[in-house]
């Protein structure tokens, strides 16, 4: 009974002495109490709902898949922001900082009103709080020229939602392709 253990122990010592050892895959290691180990053994950490069970409230399990690549912020949010702002003249777009600044834009229907947008993409995850839009509005005053005017907070939210919807479409399209 002790012999196999000694052989195994010597093998381990031999292994560690050789130096070219790489860390093992710890996700394969049975861990925890009897129940944890039972679930791991019987189901290899697979469950009906996937390896992490049922995630509620914005489970971030697939964050890695949702990241864009090559730029400093989420690629889907970045492209969605550019798409959404395509009707505006963009003065500055920094894909590493995630900042898009537009120039003033006057819609043909409302020549007395002009808008400017700042869009900030806040991270590499595709999530709803990953994009912020600041809207600036000015109206033409006959005596004072362009003067700042209040903007409905809903406008920024609607823009953010538009970007998110577009990002989601891009994500779905990329997942299906």
């Amino acid at each position: 009974m002790r012999t196999p253990l000694l052989i195994a122990l010597s093998a381990a010592l031999l292994v560690t002495a050789c130096g070219s050892v790489t860390p093992g895959d710890r996700s394969q290691i049975p861990r925890g109490d009897r129940r944890d180990r039972m679930v791991q053994a019987m189901h290899k950490n697979q469950s009906i709902l996937g390896p992490e069970g049922l995630s509620l409230f914005g489970g971030g399990g697939n964050d890695q898949q949702e990241e864009g690549s090559g730029i400093g912020v989420n690629g889907f949010l970045w492209r969605a922001s550019l798409d959404t702002l395509s009707f505006l003249p963009v003065t500055s777009a920094d894909p590493f900082g995630g900042v898009i600044l537009t120039d003033w834009y006057t819609a043909p229907e409302t020549p007395n009103e002009r808008f400017k947008l700042n869009v900030y993409i806040l991270g590499r995850q595709l999530r709803a709080d990953g994009v912020r839009v600041a809207v600036f509005r000015q109206v033409l005053n006959d005596s004072a020229g362009w003067v700042d005017a209040p903007v409905s907070p809903e406008t920024a939210t609607q823009l953010e939602n538009t970007i998110l919807t577009r990002a989601r479409e891009l994500r779905v399209a990329s997942a299906n392709s």
Binding site: L5, I29, D33, R37, I48, E52, G61, A128, E160
Partner: protein, 347 residues
Amino acid sequence: MKNLLLGSTALVGAGLLSASAAAQVELTISGLAQFEAGWVDEDDDADSERDYDFRQDGWIQFNARGVADNGLEYGAEIELDDIAAGEIEQDEQYVYIAGDFGTVRFGDKEGPAKEFAVTAPIGFGSGGFDGNYTQYTLGQAGAYLLDVEEALDSDNTKITYLTPEIGGFQGGIGFAPADAAGKPGTHRTAADSDLENILTAGFNYSADFQGFEVLAGVGGIWGGGVDTDDLTGFNIGLNVGFGGITVGGAYVLLTDVPGDLDEHSTWQIGAQYEFGPWTVGANAAFDTREFEVGGDSDTQIYSAGATYALAPGLAVYGDITFVDADATPTDPENEATVLLVGTSVAF
């Protein structure tokens, strides 16, 4: 401009997306439901008993996890237990914080000696010598130690620190004021726990050497006896895996035990083989208890079994276990053979 914006926001689902993804804390629900049938042949029953029975078990776990802006991970686990028995009890419950410094847990959860214990392979059937056969025997089924924390209510209320993994090593240390889970602040007397100031520690080492996976684990325990003996002991184990085959063994020794035992030790050995959806294996445990009143009692357990994964989350399993337990000062000797088959669903 607003019209344009409204037109492009009309797609359904954006609101839902933003509402659900904006929350910072993620809640995960998981659990297991299990059904088994067991056939028992044992010496120490009254011969009038039916020799088979059904049993079931189940639990559900809630995990909350969040990551703060500064990178600090935090969360909590609550596990509900004994659902099959018609009553729901809280089993494990803890809060934790984690970061580059490691993980700190506060609450009811096994300690690092168990967390990092390496045992003989028990990943087939219901666990072989560590399986469910004891749920079916009427006479005594002897004893065995899977690790040193078997001597405790291992989910006792404690603070645990786990190091990050460094070069294949990971370890931890845990401290509990008493051997009591779900502890209120009043468990300060000898009547609540025969142990106090319990320290458990353990580490394991994992490495991959040209396809050979090596996993070694060591754990230790120290507890002060309250009007009884102290608790001291250690466990050491080693597994070597290659191409789906894992062989391993472990030794657990308690040199001081509170209560009616003087010393308690278990040797474990086993092997298992995973191929496709199958895991088959066999293991054995050899246990010796020395009693305070004198005399000792040996237990020998031999088991073989298999698990078949039908689908993700659905498994069928079975094992056959033979137990030979010597008489103890309170129980007559018993020999039992238990065959059980079961199915379980993890979600």
